[in-house]
């Protein structure tokens, strides 16, 4: 009961935020929610299914460019552009998943990493379509005929979509598919013996994770006015990976918490000038040394201690 009350309070606060917060705060909130969706997606692949795919930024980018191009060309409603971006990302994720079936562990990580870099190169070089190195301007999205111009306009949409993804994630982790994901992570052999289609589940995880990343990209286009391939490289994937690891791999709360905390942290660090890389690096090392299971691990330990 206490939990439910807490959830309601948080929800109310989230919906009330635009009434009190400045555009800058809402921009941060929007950006953090995009990170949340990205983290939830990568957590499905790495945390739940144990597949080390490191091409998340590429799918994020596919989502962004698809949504932007569709929006700029046709002015289609934002839900259509968002879904189109997510679907295309999922489709490409499906193909990457199918190709990567024969690889595992380090090889999977490295090949998907290479795929991610290759996709980034395509973004940067396919100038007629993506604007290449000039970047691409994003026209305001269209929601039922209203133009989403400011962060404030986009906030409620981003919030609702993010909440929808959160609910979807919770539903998936509780579903047979979620069980199958974890079964594959824990033991492919036993999973197969229990009737889990291991190949199918792996591909599904890739596609689903890419769908999230693509949708996160679509969300980004609703409040952002510019995209540049520089922000779609391996470092972005690593940032999301760090979020889910710091939060606690394989945990929905961890993915959300990690995204929020590291995202906020990064913004706060901006004030710390040139020390920020040192601090970020130190935090990663210390966290791995003393909280290897992330924040969730700490929480669990605390609960167990009581």
């Amino acid at each position: 009961m206490k939990r439910a009350t807490l959830a309601v309070v948080i929800l109310l606060a989230l919906f009330a935020l635009p009434m009190v917060a400045s555009g800058y705060i809402l921009y941060l909130a929007n950006l953090l929610m995009v990170f949340v969706v990205l983290s939830l997606g990568l957590n499905i692949l790495i945390g739940e299914t144990g597949q080390f795919g490191l091409a998340h930024a590429a799918f994020y980018g596919i989502g962004i460019y698809t949504a932007v191009l569709l929006n700029n060309a046709t002015g289609a409603p934002v839900l259509v552009t968002l879904l189109a971006g997510a679907s295309l990302a999922a489709l490409i994720g499906l193909v990457l998943g199918a190709i990567s079936l024969r690889m595992r562990d380090i090889y999977l990580a490295l090949s998907t990493f290479a795929f991610g870099e290759a996709v980034r190169w395509v973004f940067a070089s396919w100038t007629p379509v993506t604007g290449g190195p000039n970047g691409l301007r994003i026209n305001p999205s269209n929601l039922f005929g209203f133009k989403l111009v400011t962060d404030r306009d986009a906030y409620l949409l981003v919030l609702v979509v993010t909440l929808a993804f959160l609910l979807l994630t919770i539903q998936i982790t509780r579903s047979r598919l979620g069980s199958a994901f974890r079964a594959v992570r824990e033991s492919e052999i036993a999973a197969a013996a229990m009737g889990v289609n291991v190949r199918g589940v792996k591909i599904a995880a890739f596609a689903l994770s890419a769908f999230y990343a693509g949708a996160a990209g679509g969300l980004f286009t609703t409040f952002s006015s510019f995209i540049h391939p520089e922000s779609l490289g391996f470092m972005t994937t690593i940032m999301v990976l760090t979020m889910i690891v710091v939060g606690g791999l394989g945990s929905v709360v961890g993915a959300v918490g990690g995204a929020l905390i590291l995202g906020l942290f990064s913004e706060l660090l901006r004030q710390l000038l040139s020390f920020q890389e040192i601090i970020y690096g130190a935090i990663l090392m210390l966290c791995m040394m003393y909280a290897p299971r992330g924040l969730m691990g700490l929480l669990e330990r605390k609960q167990a201690g009581r």
Partner: protein
């Protein structure tokens, strides 16, 4: 394209590819060593390489230490730096029941940390290099051109690789390191102190990266972001099979040559993406890499 031009391009790409490839090979070697003994792909490798280059620079240029003293000093400093990182951080991460991803993220933390520290010193603001030990006069072989320095880099890199090969195969410690990589349990049972081997390997691997830095820095300019070169070392390691030391060397040369060929025959713009395409191609056609052993099927 005329036949003559083709020949020129072909020969030059082999020549240049071998020289830069030898550096990629050293970086790949360093990476594979660590991966083999500790199962960690070291994302901090590039920054170790970077810091090592700056240590060399400071000793050589700012402290005016002669070349022949600078090299052992740098190697020793970086050796201990790598070893200390393993002892201080990674050992603790492993003890905390960290999975391999935790170790990877710790190395990532190292990478940020070193980059930040180096920027803080201020010497990384402009690209620098230090005077080469060898003349940069050009020499022609066939139609290709290279400098004396290039040959020295290639020669020294090959010599270093040979030395490491001999070390790994014919010394007690080298053999023990390979044993730890192949079968840690069995290594413990024959009395190998595997914790010691692990920090030794980190030290040694860091020293190899340092050597690569010393060799290439007169040629490639130093910045705090020069560690990015290590991606090519990664590519080389993957192409070679990621667990095979000779594979890493071959992979290094392959990547070096492919880079040049793509630049000359395809487009300068495609140089950066060539290694990644090579990775994907190799993994698709031969997932275990060119020289990697066949992946063993898991026993049911």
């Amino acid at each position: 394209m005329t036949w003559e031009l083709f020949l020129l391009f072909f020969q030059q790409s082999l020549m240049s590819g071998l020289v830069t490839g030898s550096i990629y090979a050293l970086l790949a070697l360093a990476m594979v060593m660590i991966f083999n003994t500790t199962d960690v792909p070291n994302f901090g490798q590039g920054e170790i390489f970077m810091v090592a280059s700056y240590i060399a620079l400071v000793l050589l240029v700012f402290a005016s230490v002669p070349y022949l003293v600078m090299i052992p000093l740098t190697l020793a400093a970086v050796f201990f730096g790598g070893a200390i990182f393993q002892r201080l951080v990674l050992k603790r991460v492993a003890l905390a029941r960290g999975a391999s991803v935790n170790l990877v993220i710790a190395t990532l933390g190292l990478s940020y940390f070193l980059k930040g520290v180096m920027r803080q010193t201020g010497i990384a603001e402009v690209p620098r290099s230090f005077p080469a030990l060898f003349p940069t006069d050009s020499v022609s072989i066939g139609m290709a051109t290279a400098t004396v320095q290039d040959f020295a880099i290639l020669g020294l890199a090959l010599a270093a690789m040979a030395a490491f090969f001999l070390f790994f195969h014919f010394t007690r410690t080298g053999r023990a390191m390979r044993a730890v990589g192949m079968n840690p349990r069995a290594a413990i049972l024959v009395g190998v102190d595997i914790e010691r081997m692990r920090w030794l390997v980190w030290g040694l691997s860091s020293a190899i990266a340092a050597l690569a830095g010393i060799l290439i820095s007169p040629k490639l300019l130093m910045t705090a972001d020069m560690g990015i070169v290590v991606i090519l070392g990664f590519a080389a390691a993957i192409v070679g099979g990621f667990t095979s030391l000779p594979g890493a060397v071959v992979g290094g040369f392959v990547i070096g040559i492919v880079e040049n060929m793509v630049g000359l025959f395809v487009s300068s713009k495609a140089i950066v993406v060539a290694p990644f395409l090579a990775i994907m191609l190799v993994l698709l056609l031969r997932p275990q890499g060119l020289l990697g052993g066949k992946a063993t099927a898991k026993k049911v």
